[in-house]
Amino acid sequence: MAQFRLQGSKVLAVDLAGDTVKARNGSMVAYTGQMGFKKLSGGGDGLRGMVTRRLTGERMEVMEVKGQGTCYFADKATEINLVRLNGETLFVESDNLLCTEASLRTGTSFTGLNGMASGNGLFTTKVEGQGWAAVTSHGPAVILRVSQGLPLRVDPGAYIAHTGNLHRALKSGAGWSTLIGEGGGEAMQVEFTGEGLVYVQPSERTTLGGEV
């Protein structure tokens, strides 16, 4: 079993004993012991993964790391959030998925308008199974609970991941009634309803949905 632990808040250390993890291409910063690196197709497996890459231009390339020892991963000094999955499904913006245990299945899911608004491709990576996943965020992620009667609205650029039984809908910011130049600046928001957790980062990607 690969052991995931954090070395500081920005470096992921994975102890491997002959087993395998999948990680974002080029995210290894150091290792001890013996490691092999192999490029995978990326963006998820199979046809949909390929379609993803074609459609979105996302270069979510994945490598497989196998070996004995400790491998250290990091991505542009972003914070690393460890998520333990016990059969649930994690939806994560492809850019933010750093590393997953081999026991987890990754695929793509169509995210519709959310993806469009965030300029981050139409597909989100879906992670299922049992094991650890490491998700990056620009600044430490804030985890927000969504429950019945307590919907949450997030800026598409700040959204990084969610778990649970959540429904997503794109909303235009209420009060966005005037010209763009005088608008509220929060033109597009994603509303989450249902039960689950939403991970947001204290930062906003440059998005297509206007200067949000």
Binding site: M63, Y72, K76
Partner: protein, 216 residues
């Protein structure tokens, strides 16, 4: 301790008469007291040849000498600052990552190609870090910059550490380094994985690695 940590991106240093501090030009954030900042043509020590070497290596990180009486705060570019105390040993650090160091340290520019022969040259080119690395020896403190902070990884005999050249910050101790190429290594397994070249550090010491593949 010449450098006092203010926060993870700022250090302050006391400057006393007769003790100078060398720092990267333009890295002073603020100061109190009477302190002067003099550009340092020679990059500290090593004379003209050192300077030429630096020019050739395109590693001309200009330094300035800080003298006087007061307290000076250093920081640069929002990068994390890590202070390393040297007690008679040697620190090898990429010149771009050198924020400030005490004048009591012996500074020289090292030709990395000396270690590892041709591969050393290749390494310099691959990493884009130049062939010259600043070598600091003696007793004193060094403030090093890194994108996203550094982790320290110990190196033990027989247990080499492999580092992504882009994430390499500095190392100290009795360490030999060579560029290991994944090319031709296990049937080009590493090809395309983004980890084609790795710095292999072996011996006894410590390597400082930053939490990012972004070079400064």
């Amino acid at each position: 301790m010449a450098f006092t940590r203010i926060n993870n991106k700022m250090v302050s240093a006391q400057v006393l008469p007769g003790q100078r501090i060398l720092s990267q030009r333009g890295s002073m954030l603020g100061y109190t007291g009477e302190v002067s900042f003099q550009p340092n043509l020679m990059g500290g020590q090593g004379g003209v040849m050192s300077m030429i070497g630096r020019r050739v290596a395109n590693e001309d990180t200009p330094l300035m000498t800080v003298e006087g009486h007061g307290t000076v705060m250093f920081g640069h570019g929002g990068h994390h600052v890590h202070v390393v105390d040297l007690v008679g040993d040697t620190l090898y650090v990429e010149a771009d990552r050198l924020l400030a160091f005490e004048g009591s340290l012996q500074q020289s520019t090292m030709f990395m190609g000396q270690q590892g022969g041709l591969m050393g040259v290749v390494r310099g080119q691959v990493t884009g870090q130049g062939l010259f690395t600043t070598k600091l020896t003696g007793h004193g403190a060094v403030a090093v910059m890194a994108h996203g902070g550094v982790i320290e990884l110990p190196i033990f005999p027989g247990q080499p550490v492999h580092v992504d050249p882009q994430a390499y910050v500095a190392h100290r101790g009795e360490v030999t380094n060579k560029l290991s190429s994944a090319l031709g290594w296990r049937d080009m397994v590493g090809r395309g994985s983004g980890e084609a070249f790795q710095l292999e550090l072996s011996g006894q010491g410590t390597v400082y690695v930053q939490a990012s593949e972004v070079k400064l």
